[in-house]
């Protein structure tokens, strides 16, 4: 295609090459050109590397937890060691893995590409967000190295403020710092969505992934400051002996819980909304079918984001909160389940009359729908007060939120990672390995976490490392599943790293997908598009009879010619 262009001027050609060079191409600056990168795509990769590291640190902690729970007598770790390990697992996984998981990687990489922009609105701020998150994470790891933290990720006072003999303050400060990084990311994305859409990219032509990132960013901006102030008060109580949450001096520990869950419940939506966006993109592509009920999906995303702010009290049904308040929060929690249900129905309906193929991203996405459905439905149990009284603080809750966050968000992350892998790296991944890992992950996940629902209704409390012997069989089952799951998580690390170097080069649009990100080369040039795209149609204009190319017949050679 480009071979028809006859270069007139050597200087002009050189300039054109620079503009068209991929964002991965070196500018001759060595490591510092990455550590000081302001290109949103490079920052996305920085985030991806960081969260991968945190995922394996948090995963190592999870391994220790499952190892310890094989025996009911706690042979392997002491009380304090176990408390440190699950606290590490929680803090790292929540704030340094799940919260940045999809927004900071795919959000960063794809938001400008999907709306036809050259970059985010504030590129330097974007880099600053990464450093804030990194510094926060280092603070938490330092707190662990200096003797550990044993409060659990929830930092409930008065244990965290007055009784714990561990490095609570350092960890809390780390979380606050990372929180500012999250807020900055949210501000950046919302401003980008408002001001940098390409000509013709109207609000209702935006891909649903952009909508979910937009809604997520609003939640980040509105919820994270509340966490920051709450943890600041905990740090002040701890460092200066203030009594804000001290029940013996007229304070109220429940005040902390209100403030904490005002953040931490919406934080669940920070994790799951972008996952829903990823899955929508993947399902529509591999079903070759317009998303069923696009407008309804948009309204569902926005209402989840808003209603998600008023359900926090369902974490406090047994806390000593008033019964009337519990009923109000129970009611609101049932309401918030409706838009989530709509999304599941719409994904299913998108498959109807499609031309479905089952590449790895689709397998991960369908796995997401299954696991998220279970996670969401068990949420109904926790919204009903009498059942919540029985299962809160037990493994039922543990299983529920792992289904939503790991079965949901992490499956969706892998769906997106495989789907956009050719776009990000310019190379294809090994398909059969990926399909096998997807199946293994789904199986291993259920094997690990389904027994925990049963354990929970039986009453096995969470955060116990010594437990009654009658719970052992189910715990052994769960630990066995964890081995499978760990293997499934290690596989992509192996074959994707391999694909980075030896994968087949990818064409610009290997899936024949719609969406602006596929209209530029793979990997994209530094400023994303050689000329600003003009948008004339909706995001999912798959034609009803369009047939996907077979995986083997992907237009690799055509792509070579395209270069």
């Amino acid at each position: 295609m480009t071979d028809a262009v006859a270069p007139i001027d050597q200087a002009e050609l050189r300039r054109a090459r620079v503009v068209a060079a991929s964002y991965l191409d070196s500018e001759g600056g060595g490591l510092s050109e990455w550590l000081l990168a302001t290109d949103h795509k490079r920052i996305a990769l920085l985030y991806a590397l960081m969260i991968t590291a945190f995922f394996f640190i948090g995963g190592a902690a999870a391994t220790l937890i499952r190892l310890e729970l094989i025996s009911p007598h706690g042979h392997f770790l002491t009380d304090d060691e176990y408390n440190h390990v699950f606290t590490l697992h929680g803090i790292i996984m929540v704030w340094f893995f799940l919260v940045p998981l999809i927004p900071a990687t795919f959000g960063n990489f794809l938001l400008p590409l999907m709306i036809g922009a050259p970059d985010v609105a504030f590129p330097k701020l974007n880099l600053a967000s990464w450093y804030l998150t990194l510094i926060g994470g280092i603070c938490v790891l330092a707190a662990m190295m200096l003797g550990g933290v044993d409060t659990g990720w929830t930092f409930y006072p008065p244990y965290s403020t007055a009784f714990s003999n561990s490095n609570v303050a350092v960890a809390v400060v780390g979380v606050i710092i990372a929180g500012f990084g999250t807020i900055a990311t949210g501000v950046n994305f919302v401003a980008t969505t408002h001001t940098l859409r390409a000509p013709g990219m109207t609000w209702f032509r935006m891909p649903l992934f952009v909508w979910t990132i937009y809604a997520t960013s609003l939640v980040m901006i509105l919820a994270t400051p509340v966490l920051a102030i709450t943890l600041t008060l905990v740090a002040a109580d701890r460092l200066f002996g203030l009594p804000v949450f001290d029940g013996f001096r007229g304070g109220d520990p429940l005040l902390f819980q209100h403030l904490f869950w005002f953040y931490s419940h919406p934080a669940v939506y920070i994790m799951i909304l972008p996952a829903m966006g990823v899955v929508t993109e993947v399902i529509t592509c591999f079903a070759r079918r317009r998303v069923f009920g696009y407008a309804m999906m948009v309204y569902a995303v926005l209402s989840i984001a808003i209603i998600g702010f008023v359900v926090w009290g369902h974490h406090m049904f047994v806390s000593g909160q008033s019964v009337f308040a519990s009923l109000v929060f129970s009611f609101l929690s049932f309401i918030v389940a409706v838009p989530s249900a709509i999304k599941v129905f719409n994904w299913t309906a998108t498959l109807y009359r499609g031309q479905i193929t089952f590449e790895a991203p689709m397998l991960y996405a369908l796995g997401f729908v299954g696991l998220f459905t279970i996670g969401g439905l068990t949420g109904l149990f926790l919204a009903s007060v009498p059942i919540d009284i029985q299962v809160t603080g037990t493994y039922f809750v543990v299983a529920h939120f792992h289904y939503v966050m790991v079965g949901g968000a992490v499956s969706a992350y892998f769906a997106g990672l495989h789907f956009w892998w050719p776009k990000i790296t310019g190379r294809l991944y090994p398909e059969s390995w990926a399909r096998f890992a997807a199946a293994l992950m789904f199986f291993g996940f259920n094997f690990t976490f389904f027994p925990q629902f049963i354990l929970g209704y039986l009453g096995m409390p969470r955060r116990y490392h010594v437990y009654p012997p009658e719970f052992q069989p189910l715990n052994v089952m769960s630990s066995a599943g964890a081995v499978v799951l760990a293997a499934a998580y290690l596989m992509p690390l192996g074959y994707l790293t391999w694909a980075c170097f030896y994968g087949k080069p990818s064409p610009a649009n290997p899936w024949n997908a719609k969406g602006l990100e596929w209209q530029t080369s793979s990997p994209p040039p530094k400023r994303n598009f050689l000329r600003t795209p003009i948008v004339t149609e909706g995001p999912y204009d798959y034609h009803d009879l369009d047939i996907a190319p077979e995986p083997q017949a992907r237009p690799v050679d055509a792509a070579r010619a395209h270069d």
């Binding site: 401003a191 001096r249 005040l255």
Partner: protein
């Protein structure tokens, strides 16, 4: 040095990824407002915590609040609203390309900010002399009066940190504009003034609530 010379030496305020300044300004203002929204939740949650704790024991809060020095609070309020005036006019002067006026008013704003911190320092000294920091030698006993004073220190302390950041930002603008290293057309002036106003707004609520309303 003439004002036009100052303006012409300054670098182009246009930044990546923008191709026109008005769009960039729009994004910067929106970004700052979004950050202010976040800050409003930050301070708002603090006020929620304060009101919640007061509702648990209004009597103790009333007694405790009687020890807060209204004179210091009122003086500081006057200083801070004045600084909001000076920064507003500084931005308007910059828009009218009156570089000298703008830099002088920026300097005045920073000075007023420092004056606030100095007055606050004297107030803190008095509070400490009167044993009003919660702890073992707290003057009012082992009860919810300590909660009021915990909030007093937390809220005024967090405000002081915000104000210190604000002073640094205004001083930075002052140096950059005076040295001709920043164009008067840069969106940073307006964005910084928005932040300054927010810090002022926080105090404007804090003074009547903490020093006066709770006494009742």
């Amino acid at each position: 040095m003439t004002e036009t010379a100052l303006a012409s030496r300054a670098p182009d305020p246009l930044r990546e990824p923008w191709s026109d300044l008005s769009r960039q300004r729009e994004a910067a203002t929106l970004g700052m407002w979004l950050f202010l929204m976040s800050e409003m939740l930050f301070f708002g949650a603090l006020f929620m915590a304060f009101s919640f704790s007061r509702a648990l024991d209004p009597a103790a809060f009333a007694e405790a609040a009687r020890h807060a020095e209204i004179a210091y609070g009122a003086a500081n309020t006057a200083v801070l609203v004045t600084s909001s005036l000076t920064i507003t006019i500084a931005v308007r002067a910059a828009n009218a390309e009156r570089a000298t006026l703008a830099t002088r008013l920026l300097a005045a704003t920073a000075l007023l900010g420092v004056a606030f911190l100095v007055i606050k320092g004297f107030e803190y000294r008095d509070d400490l002399r009167n044993h009003l920091f919660p702890g073992h030698d707290f003057a009012l006993g082992e009860n919810a009066t300590q909660i009021f004073w915990a909030f007093y220190w937390a809220m005024t302390g967090i405000h002081a940190i915000h104000l210190t950041v604000g002073v640094a930002l205004v001083l930075r603008l002052f140096w950059l504009v005076r040295g001709g290293r920043m164009s008067l057309a840069s969106p940073q002036l307006e964005v910084t003034s928005l932040y300054w106003h927010l810090v002022d707004a926080f105090w404007i609520v804090l003074f009547p609530v903490l020093y006066v309303a709770v006494r009742a």
